[in-house]
């Protein structure tokens, strides 16, 4: 590290930047790129690999594994398509190694982007200090304009019931991503996006799965129809789904775990080789000097921020998971870009937190934006639901992806798109038509008026919009 001599105070000091970002995950690295684009001298402090959880142990490797799972299940039914594949074998170790390569490529990609934009990357554990400074080892990095806290989150266990992560029989998604071989049976605690995706992956690799969710439905944040569709699909495939379930006790042995599960008034023992904890995440706010800088937390443990994402300490901003839910990479991306623009003196457009798409990449995929039907009811909104099943969509029939539907909730009077929910192949891609529509305040009529190519899965979106208007064509 350069040790600057401050002989000439007019010259820039090597450890002085306009912006110093603590954390090189999605929020942090995007903030760095945007800040650099706007001409700010920027440094990112990262203790592990660039790209954070998303690139290294989250979004990216799981998508690689999910595709392996997809290929495995496709081959099982390929005979129907006139392609007989015999002797199909799966090897999780190989799939895992491929997923690591994909992650590494992405992390290197972020490294390249930092170089391209002349962002200084400091490897090490950073601690915030008052006066807009970040200490890394013996070095202190000073920010003239702002320090951005983007330390992200990590998986958490439930030690209260004896399910402390031990990396062998009680594992987290971090460990699951590095397994050389799969356990014979696996209980997954938590059926949010992470739990659902690992259930899909491991089932395809021949693991007997028991999916346990405390709330009454799996994918509890999604529309009830989407949750029910997935529960039905998983059960049909032979994944055991127990919702509204409480794990009352866990006996963690050396090579097996026994869970006492209570659901619907019934008690049940679930005996498995391993348990995967997928019940929430904890934010990384410890030991980074928040208190010393006067940065306060919310009751829920996130960093307290104002509408500009500034913390309670002026000049310190929080972005990404630490700044509050939803804990999604794309929300972090936007916050990073937004704060960089703000620090550069621009007036970025306010972030619409009610318009962040949510996607679960299990099969069939689940994607949504805006309100669920239950939320519409709670808010006593006057709404109309329009639906279109993929079973009536020509393209979906052709590819055999007839599971699922598009559901659009529209305001009765003005046609505003209150919420949209898609279950089915490529739902993660199709949802963006509705994200754009909502961002620009298009109503169902504008969506329907846009000509959709035939045959495509996206036609189901236009049909659902039409259905909400009472004019559906293909059913």
């Amino acid at each position: 590290m350069l040790r600057p001599y401050t002989i000439n105070p007019g010259l820039p000091v090597a450890n002085q930047f306009d912006v110093v970002i603590l954390g090189g995950g999605p929020a942090g690295y995007i903030a760095a790129i945007r800040a650099a684009q706007l001409g700010l001298a920027t440094a990112v402090v990262e203790k592990e690999k660039l790209g954070g959880v998303c690139v290294n142990i989250g979004c990216i490797p799981t998508k690689a594994l999910l595709h392996s799972a997809y290929i495995a299940s496709l081959l099982k039914e390929s005979k129907d398509f006139g392609v007989e594949a015999s002797g199909v074998k799966t090897d999780y170790g190989v799939a895992m190694k491929r997923s690591r390569r994909v992650s590494d490529q992405n992390s290197k990609g972020v490294e390249f982007l930092m170089k391209k934009h002349k962002v200084t990357v400091v490897k090490g554990t950073g601690v915030l200090q008052p006066g807009r400074k970040v200490k890394v080892g013996a070095d202190v990095y000073e920010a003239k304009k702002a320090v951005l806290v983007a330390t992200g989150s990590r998986v958490k266990g439930i030690p209260q019931i004896g399910l402390e992560i031990n990396k062998s029989t009680v594992i987290s998604s971090d460990d699951a991503l590095l397994l050389e071989q799969v356990p014979a049976s696996l209980a997954i605690v938590g059926a949010g996006a992470v739990g659902m995706e690992f259930a899909d992956i491991f089932h395809a690799f021949g693991v007997k799965i028991t999916l346990i969710e405390a709330l009454p439905r799996i994918l509890p944040l999604e529309d009830a129809e989407a949750s029910d569709a997935l529960a039905k699909s998983y059960k049909k495939r032979g994944i055991e789904v127990i919702a509204g379930a409480k794990v009352t006790k866990a006996a963690v042995g050396k090579d097996k775990v026994t869970l006492d599960v209570e659901a619907g008034g019934e008690k049940k023992k679930v005996e498995v080789v391993a348990v995967l904890m997928a019940a929430g995440r904890a934010v990384n706010t410890e030991d980074i000097g928040l208190k010393e800088c006067g940065i306060q937390l919310t009751d829920r443990g996130f960093i307290k921020v104002d509408k500009n994402l500034q913390t309670t300490a002026p000049g310190y901003y929080a972005i990404g998971d630490v700044a509050g839910p939803p804990m999604l990479a794309h929300k972090g991306f936007r916050e990073g870009a937004c704060v960089a623009e703000l620090v550069a003196g621009q007036k970025p457009h306010p972030i619409r937190y009610d318009n962040v798409p949510s996607v679960t990449y299990c099969h069939p995929e689940v994607a949504s934006i805006g309100l669920t039907e239950d939320q519409c009811k709670e808010k006593k909104l006057d709404y109309v639901a329009g639906r279109f099943p993929f079973s009536a969509n020509g393209r979906a029939r052709g590819t055999g992806e007839t599971e699922g539907f598009v559901k659009i909730l529209r305001d009765k009077k003005y046609g505003e798109i209150l919420g949209a929910h898609i279950v089915g192949g490529h739902a993660s891609e199709i949802i963006h038509e509705l994200a754009v529509a909502r961002e620009n305040e298009y109503t169902v009529e504008e969506v329907e008026l846009a000509i959709h190519a035939h045959p495509t899965m996206s036609e189901a979106v236009a049909e659902a919009a039409l259905d909400s208007l009472g004019r559906v064509l293909h059913i």
Binding site: Q346, K347, Y414, G415, N440, E441, Y442, E446
Partner: protein, 415 residues
């Protein structure tokens, strides 16, 4: 042939932009869609992008300079290409459409300056906002857009601020957010509040009034005893069929006085004066973040009850920002009343192109000489602001005398 880079209208109300920073320098290669410069509009800092591929061969506008929309700020061409006479021979700003002379029949023409008229033709609003505004009868031109490029979006039309607990049922007719001109105190030393469209229009129009227009002021004291009696009698007669206010009586009297003094019922039009045969009285109404002047048309021909009903309806619409353009444009003369605020007398600023406005104070009991005694009478101070380019001192004085006579003897209105 080099392509000219013009200062573009990056917001609907933008007439000029300040070139904050060139992000490309002379000699840099540029592609269509690439950002050339950052430009501060009347709303925000926006990006000016290239509309052609090539090299930025010449920069005409310096950083920090303010350039009218439509003027050339740079040239894009082939490397080495020369720009003919490019020094700073920027073309003239686009001509505002000339206000056409219209026959007297039909609706009076809109007296707004060209630039505002151009804005009026194109309102940026989301499809949802358009639908809500149409249903609620809200004029989108009067709403400040908070979306990209000043686009009016749903939240601009909602009463409840975003994020607040919504009402149990959606209001059937959402109204524009009444914006308090003064924001809540922040921790900073001061708070900058961008001008709303209505305030911009007020600023623009009034700056074309008191500065450029040679004003002079005439004040008279009016005895309102008989008008008070007449109003009492009229209201008794009307019962619950309506109500006549002093302001309605003033509007009617002003309109009638104007028919007798056409010289005051006129517009100054740069190279000509338009003397109106019709009388349309603008009535200043205070709204949440400014004021607007809805128009009582043909006030000389309407009954007091009609004027009363119409003025109240227009004021109501003004406050809920539902006035249509033809309801607040085309006045030939205006009346402004601050009597309800206990203002004895004041001077009002002329609403161009009109040539006069009458400022109405409050009616207060005053001791006045009556022969050799002193009696207490209800009195009203009227102050007329005149555009000296149209109205001379004596002309204005004669009009004001007629107005005074009509108010002091309401029966004279029947003459």
């Amino acid at each position: 042939m080099a392509t000219k880079v013009h200062m573009e209208a990056l917001s609907p109300t933008m007439e000029e932009g300040r070139l904050v920073k060139w992000t490309k320098r002379e000699g840099d290669a540029v592609k269509t869609g690439e950002t050339l410069a950052e430009v501060e509009t009347d709303k925000a800092v926006m990006e000016l992008v290239a509309r052609a591929d090539g090299q930025l061969i010449k920069v005409v506008a310096a950083e920090g300079s303010t350039v009218p929309v439509g003027n050339v700020v740079a040239y894009i061409g082939a490397p080495g290409e020369k720009v003919d006479g490019a020094s700073s021979a920027a073309p003239a700003a686009p001509q505002p459409p000339a206000v056409s002379r219209q026959p007297s029949a039909g609706a009076p023409p809109t007296p707004v300056p060209g630039a505002v008229a151009a804005d009026a033709a194109r309102v940026k609003a989301s499809p949802l906002a358009k639908r809500i505004a149409q249903e609620a009868g809200v004029d989108l031109k009067l709403v400040t857009g908070s979306g990209p490029g000043g686009r009016v979006v749903k939240r601009d039309l909602e009463r409840a601020p975003a994020g607040s607990a919504g009402p149990a049922t959606q209001p059937s007719v959402p109204l524009p957010t009444p914006r308090s001109p003064v924001p809540e105190r922040s921790g900073a030393a001061y708070d900058d509040v961008p001008l709303t469209q209505i305030r911009k229009t007020i600023a623009k129009r009034l700056a074309t009034s008191l500065g450029p227009i040679p004003h002079f002021f005439l004040t008279t004291d009016v005895d309102m005893e008989r008008a008070t009696e007449a109003r009492g009698a009229l209201n008794q007669q009307l019962g619950d069929q309506g109500k006549v206010s002093f302001n309605d009586i003033v509007i009617k009297a002003v309109a009638l006085a104007l028919t007798k003094h056409r010289a005051c019922n006129a517009w100054f039009q740069d190279d000509h004066i338009r003397y109106w045969n019709e009388v349309h009285i603008g009535v200043a109404v205070a709204v949440d973040d400014g004021l607007i002047t809805p128009v009582v048309r043909n006030a000389d021909l309407k009954s007091l009850a009609q004027i009363g009903a119409e003025a109240r309806d227009l004021a109501q619409k003004a406050r809920s920002r539902r006035l249509k353009p033809d309801e607040y444009t085309g006045a030939t003369f205006s009346v402004s009343n601050l009597g309800m605020f206990d203002i004895d007398e004041f001077t009002a600023v002329i609403n161009p192109p009109e040539a006069g406005i009458v400022a109405v104070g409050s009616i207060v009991p005053k001791a006045v000489p009556d022969g050799d005694r002193v009696v207490v009478r209800r009195r009203l101070r009227l102050t007329m602001s005149c555009d000296h380019r149209v109205i001379d001192g004596a002309t204005g004085a004669q009009f004001l005398r007629t107005l005074k006579q009509m108010l002091e003897n309401p029966l004279a209105m029947l003459l």
